[in-house]
Subunit: 200 residues, 2 copies
């Protein structure tokens, strides 16, 4: 299997962490979004949406969308709860991540870190909704070690990806203490190198 | 089971259509977003995200996020492909819908229909990305009857919800002929009343 990913993208790191944790064999093909490598004709032929991460199976079939990819890779593993309601909760968090967390927390980070915007130039809507997303996560983690079960699931992988680097988008991690300790637990459980994907 | 939903929301209608198609028993509790009924203390206690749709099971447990709810309701049914790669493709479309389709196609419609904005006042970014999403859908449907398999899956339900009313957001459905005939096929297969959720 080939994984096309940009090492500074939380969405791409989700796939790498899941594949590593489960011991999948893969070839990582570094694909830079900022250099336009997801917009070449060759890449668009593999993924018309022009987005990484993307996996290509040995038979040539391709699959996009980070949360769909990690669901596919983790089938039958302990990263997906066997209880049907817990599994539904896991998907609830994963869809919420893509709709209510990533578009604010990751976008603020992208604009500050990659486009060089100062925090004061971020759109107020992005800052407010990013804070609301982190506050919701923090509240949910006050009473439990992981989002869905007693051990990490794909929901934790999906949500930790941009939460752990939210400070690069101007969000103060210390304002979310329950979230902060959860980040440490997820990193430890998945053996994620400290600050992988963070600035060198 | 109770379904809290706003009948003019495509996200809520996905849940209704899926429950109807599969013959689930439920009580529909009309919950108006515009009237603030998703922001009351009682509602926020059920869903801290303050969003519909939401389902409440007989034992009191609640579940949010339209695509997570329909996945839960459809477990074991023909709406979820049994082949693991087809299932992954279904999730790919569903995550893409929430990230790259709904925030443009549904938001344009919301601003025009509910906030009374003229098409000319929509943000250019929303219009462009909405068109790109519909074009991608149209291209994918040129060579196949449904998004993933020979019969409808949850991917079709998720994507048809706002595509069928995209004209209310200023998008010309006739520009996407393959998508337009697919809308008819999905409506027929799921017995969706013509223009349910559309203006009276």
């Amino acid at each position: 299997m080939e994984i096309y990913g940009d090492s500074v993208s939380g969405n791409c790191l989700k796939v790498k962490w899941t594949a590593n944790h489960l011991g999948h064999d893969y070839l990582w093909i570094e694909t830079s979004v900022l250099n336009g490598e997801t917009r070449t004709p060759a890449f668009l032929a593999m993924n018309p949406a022009g987005q990484v991460p993307l996996i290509r199976l040995d038979d040539g079939r391709t699959l996009a969308q980070s949360n769909a990819i990690i669901t596919f890779l983790a089938e039958g593993s302990a990263l997906i709860p066997s209880d049907s309601f817990d599994r539904a909760r896991m998907f609830e968090w994963m869809f919420w991540e893509q709709y209510s967390h990533e578009p604010y927390v990751a976008v603020a980070r992208f604009q500050m870190r990659y486009l060089g915007k100062p925090a004061s130039a971020l759109e107020a809507r992005i800052v407010e909704r990013g804070k609301a997303a982190l506050a919701r996560l923090d509240a949910a983690l006050e009473s439990r070690p992981f989002l869905v079960a007693e051990a990490p699931t794909l929901a934790d992988i999906a949500l930790v990806a941009y939460s752990r680097v939210a400070d690069e988008g101007g969000f103060a991690l210390a304002d979310y203490p329950a979230m902060l300790s959860w980040i440490g637990r997820v990193e430890q459980a998945l053996k994620i190198p400290a600050r992988e994907g963070a600035p060198l």
